[in-house]
């Protein structure tokens, strides 16, 4: 048999080149020193920052466009015939829904919600829903909640109406999928803040911009999980359909959709949670509701009020999440059986439905005729804002223990991490920063194209004249990511080694992942006041769960035989971990790190609401009075997100392009969104998918 050339070469290398063992630590040390030297030389020899001479006034065309819109929106057909009616229609629909909910009275809405939950997901969920709505009423958040709920419901309805059919189509037409993929990628990579500005340019501040932003944000999981669900239906099941003579419509209806149902339901759940997650962002363009209350309270530094409204959002999130989750679980377990169990009795579904309808009608009649209260009566509410503020004031007094500690942490963070890093980024000449991105891209992917693109995209940020604030944002992202990963990976490893730890962590992570990102801003301003440090802390905490989960999952998914093989050779637990589990879990862990980075970025951006500054602040200012600058900042957020995302995606699989493709898809699948345990399963399932499929 012929010996392959490569092996001959290897043997030759072995014999000719004396083997010089280089300890990896030594090599790393050399690299570190070299890097420091280069950076120092860069700072000493060249002036830092981005030269003004290279910038362009990118804001001007946008401002011009904004002016044009303002002057032409009554005359141009695009506006008169399309955008304005669209806007009016959306406004009317949302207003109408809110009005309708008010007409049902609070009791009617409460019972209606509970009845829907009960019919879909069982009586426990009905009780949970009723309790949740009651709590919202008692907290004095009823009216705000109606607005929020109306926006969420309509946006989710639109997102599903678009997302499900598009998902089905894209699963069946690979070409459509390949066109959609980058679009969805962009939609999921870009923090929602970035596309608020163009929406405001077109529709001005208000309901329409808020709703379209929400739909855009909530659409990708609906499309992706529908498509994923259908694509992962086993080939044999489809062959069965075809072999018995099904039309393609029959295959879809009788085989693909039923088998894709769990994934589609997860998509519905994710869509709802995404919509709910963006409502504070919707508030920045003036949509009323819980989000606006949080937003205003944050601006007024009224921690108590922010906490109350935030609590309302968390309650809504938990109710919606649990109900949709239980609904999908039940769909899986119940299978066609038509009975509902209530306190041990088995009630037929039809009876359950009739009871639910009667209860709703009765509640509405009572609410309208007897109680005559459209809104939850103010006399019954308890305000928690006051006591909370008192408590917070007390806790954070600088002379008290906690206040001293948080002050200390803030100082440490600013003086030893954020400021030095920002100074470094700003002190280096711009081309070194861009070059750094290029080197990182090349090291991660070995693709010259990506390296060049990274260099140019980062340089573009400078050209657009927002270099300084972008570096500010970047420094916060880097600090938060390092800390978050440093906490998450060890926790994930620990959780993978101990079922008890996993059991304790799981519900905590579940709750953390149910909460919308801005909710994390509230407790941190209570403890750390405003500034960059609370934003960084909120970001790093928010980003913990997926990385912990993916580390844990990656290690636990290492096939048992591999571990056994190592144990059989006498490896200690530590050795098994270091030599078998961690290397094999690498793709999963790297996916976790990628998630961390994208999540941190999105929170660092919105942390501008609590004094984080940076690009996010420019967007907020842009929304209020400087659309051009807001637009530029939005674009630069997008550039930064794309570069960071591409680089970290590439780290996973440097050479095997096929593998990059797959992993890439999973990363995108959940984008910067939160990821549930089951969603992770779906994603990882896709890692394991047949490579043949990948070529198709």
């Amino acid at each position: 048999m012929a010996v392959p050339l490569r092996e001959i070469q290897q043997v030759a290398d072995l014999t000719l080149v004396p083997h010089v063992p280089v300890s990896p630590w030594r090599r790393r040390a050399v690299w570190a020193v070299a890097t420091v030297v280069v950076l120092a030389l860069g700072m000493i020899l060249f002036s830092g920052g981005f030269p003004d001479s290279l910038t362009v006034d990118a804001a001007r065309p946008f401002n011009a466009f904004s002016d044009w819109v303002i002057t032409h929106q009554r005359t141009t057909p695009l506006f008169v015939d399309f955008l304005v009616p669209l806007k009016d229609g959306i406004n009317a629909a949302v207003d109408h829904l809110v009005l309708q909910l008010e007409r049902f009275t609070w009791l009617g809405v409460l019972v209606l919600a509970a009845a829907i939950a009960g019919v879909l997901a069982g009586w426990r969920m009905a009780v949970l829903t009723a309790a949740g709505f009651l709590a919202i009423g008692l907290l004095g958040l009823w009216e705000d909640s109606l607005h929020t709920l109306a926006l969420v419901l309509l946006s989710v309805g639109v997102a599903l109406a678009i997302g499900l059919p598009v998902g089905v189509l894209s699963a069946r037409h690979p070409r459509l999928e390949s066109v959609l993929r980058p679009v969805l990628d962009a939609m999921q990579t870009v923090p929602a803040f970035a596309y608020l500005v163009p929406l405001v340019l077109l529709f001005s501040i208000g309901t329409t911009a808020a709703m379209i932003a929400t739909v855009i944000f909530a659409l990708p999981p609906a499309i992706r999980l529908t498509s994923l669900g259908i694509r992962t239906v086993p080939e044999t099941s489809i062959e069965v359909g075809e072999a018995f003579g099904s039309t393609s419509w029959q295959v879809l209806r009788k085989v693909q959709l039923p088998l894709a149902k769990p994934s589609i339901m997860l998509g519905v759940n994710q869509t709802i949670m995404m919509a709910l997650g963006i409502i504070v962002i919707a508030a920045t363009v003036g949509y009323p509701g819980l989000g606006l209350s949080v937003y205003q309270a944050l601006q007024d530094l009224n921690v108590g009020a922010a906490l109350a409204a935030g609590l309302g959002i968390v309650i809504l999130a938990i109710v919606l999440d649990r109900v949709t989750h239980a609904w999908s679980e039940r769909g899986r377990v119940r299978r066609g059986s038509t009975a509902i169990r209530v306190f041990g009795w088995s009630v037929s579904r039809r009876v359950g439905l009739i009871v639910a309808v009667l209860a709703v009608v009765a509640a509405i009649v009572i609410g309208r005729q007897v109680l005559r209260q459209q809104i939850f009566p103010t006399g019954w509410t308890v305000s928690i804002a006051g006591p909370v503020n008192t408590a917070v004031d007390w806790i954070t007094r600088p002379d008290e223990a906690i206040g001293r500690i948080t002050k200390h942490i803030t100082d440490l963070g600013v003086n030893y991490a954020l400021d030095p890093l920002r100074s470094l980024l700003l002190g280096l000449p711009w081309w070194m920063v861009c070059g750094g991105a290029a080197v990182a891209a090349w090291a991660a992917s070995r693709r010259v194209g990506l390296a060049i693109a990274s260099f140019l995209l980062i340089a573009a940020i400078g050209v657009f004249g927002v270099w300084d604030i972008a570096m500010d944002t970047l420094s916060q992202v880097i600090v938060a990511v390092i800390l978050s990963v440093a906490i998450a990976i060890p926790l994930g490893i620990w959780s993978s080694q101990s079922d008890r730890v996993q059991r304790v962590l799981r519900p905590v992570l579940d709750v953390m992942q149910t909460m919308p990102q801005f909710v994390y801003l509230v407790p941190v301003i209570a403890l750390f006041a405003v500034g960059r440090v609370p934003g960084v802390i909120a970001a790093l905490v928010y980003a913990l769960p997926p990385c912990i989960r993916l580390t844990d999952l990656g290690i636990r998914q290492v096939p048992a035989e591999r571990v056994e093989a190592a144990v059989a050779f006498g490896a200690t637990k530590r050795q098994v971990l270091r030599k078998v589990q961690l290397p094999l879990a690498r793709p999963s862990i790297l996916l976790g790190v990628n998630q961390t980075i994208m999540m941190v970025l999105s929170v660092v951006i919105i942390a501008a609401l609590i004094g984080g500054g940076g690009l996010g602040l420019a967007v907020i200012q842009g929304l209020n009075h400087d659309p051009g600058r807001g637009m530029v900042a939005g674009i630069c957020i997008l550039l930064l997100a794309i570069v960071i995302d591409r680089i970290t995606q590439a780290v996973g699989q440097p050479t095997a392009r096929k593998a990059v493709g797959t992993e890439h898809r999973i990363g995108w699948l959940f984008g910067p969104s939160r990821m549930r345990g089951s969603a992770v399963q779906v994603g990882v399932q896709e890692i394991a998918m047949d490579p043949r499929e990948e070529e198709a």
Binding site: E239, G241, G245, P258
Partner: protein
């Protein structure tokens, strides 16, 4: 010439090549390249190469080959789950490539059904609904199809399990459901793609017996794929041995065991208990004038049953078919046939 009955399924020089520009390869020298070289040169895989055969109505035709030899691909071309790259597949003399979508679906709904390797049950449907699947697709009313499904479940020994779900059944029972589903549409032709490979040996044997029983009762044409020679010998009226996409031999079980076409087949059949497969007919010779016979044996008697006879008596036996003598066997012939490999 006697009337040759029309084959119900026939393949004429059928090819299936996966990969880019697959249709340009058939007819060029590349088509004969070994697998690796073809892949290197054209990035194509030739799964089925130049296969021709005829299956008569009521026959059980078994295709046997190792994993990757192209069996699944071949069987899927018979109902056009895959389209052949070249060649013709005829059902009752009609070229199935000529069928439009509508007529193809009709064929699949009524004429030909399939049993799958990993059962292919739909997990979200009850057992009856799985069995009734083909009828449902055909548009049969709910009551009628459920009645039919219940009947068929009885036939395969699963009476009363109609309301269960697939994951509540053992593997063997699941494949009975798969079998019932294929029977429920009352097809003329049944395709089996390694239906029992995933089952334990004992259960596999039960299932094979089930198929033999069914075949006796309902007389379907069966095309049965397996990688297990014992299964092929047990079930097949005729066996085709497949290797690298080609048929290397077609014949009755006996022919294959007694006269392997090449070393490859011989290798397979080496461990076959020949005493159970070979018959008197295969090993007999014509008389050269002997008159002193120990007795008569039927032509289809297996060697196992001849052994005690030839051990007791050294004289040859007459081999008789339909009352007439067709040849003779003796101790030497029996022993030689049993040790020959």
């Amino acid at each position: 010439m006697s009337e040759v009955p029309q084959a119900i399924v026939s393949c004429r020089n059928v090819w299936k090549i996966y990969g880019p520009k697959a249709d340009r390869i058939v007819g060029t020298p590349d088509a004969d390249l070994p697998r690796e070289e073809l892949l290197q040169k054209t990035s194509c895989v030739a799964a089925v190469r130049d296969v021709s055969f005829d299956v008569q109505p009521g026959e059980v035709f078994v295709v046997m080959g190792l994993s990757g030899s192209g069996k699944s691909t071949l069987v899927r071309m018979l109902n056009r789950l895959h389209d052949p790259t070249a060649g013709k597949v005829l059902l009752d003399g009609d070229d199935i490539m000529q069928l439009d979508d509508e007529r193809l679906r009709e064929v699949r709904r009524r004429k030909i059904s399939m049993v799958f390797q990993h059962f292919g049950l739909l997990p979200h449907r009850r057992i009856v609904d799985n069995v009734a699947f083909g009828l449902e697709i055909r548009g049969v009313e709910k009551e009628e199809r459920e009645a039919k499904a219940t009947d068929v479940l009885q036939v395969v020994g699963l009476a009363g399990l109609g309301n269960a779900y697939p994951d509540e059944l053992s593997g063997g029972m699941q494949q009975r459901v798969g079998l019932a589903r294929a029977l429920a549409t009352d097809p003329e032709i049944m395709l089996f793609d390694e239906p029992f490979s995933a089952l334990d040996p004992l259960i596999r044997r039960d299932m094979q017996d089930e198929v033999i029983r069914l075949q006796r009762d309902v007389q379907k044409t069966m095309i049965f794929i397996t990688h297990d020679l014992a299964e092929a010998l047990k079930l097949g009226d005729r066996i085709a041995i497949m290797k690298d996409g080609r048929f290397v031999q077609i014949g009755t079980p006996e022919e294959v065991v007694a006269h392997p076409a090449d070393d490859y087949v011989a290798d397979f059949t080496r461990d076959v208990p020949r005493a159970h497969v070979l018959t008197a007919r295969t090993i007999m010779r014509s008389t050269d004038g002997e008159t002193d016979f120990a007795g008569d044996v039927p032509a289809d008697a297996i060697l196992q049953s001849l052994l005690p006879l030839v051990v007791k008596d050294e004289r040859p036996f007459r081999v008789v078919d339909d009352g007439t003598q067709v040849g003779i066997v003796d101790r030497t012939a029996v022993l030689a046939a049993m040790v020959e490999a």
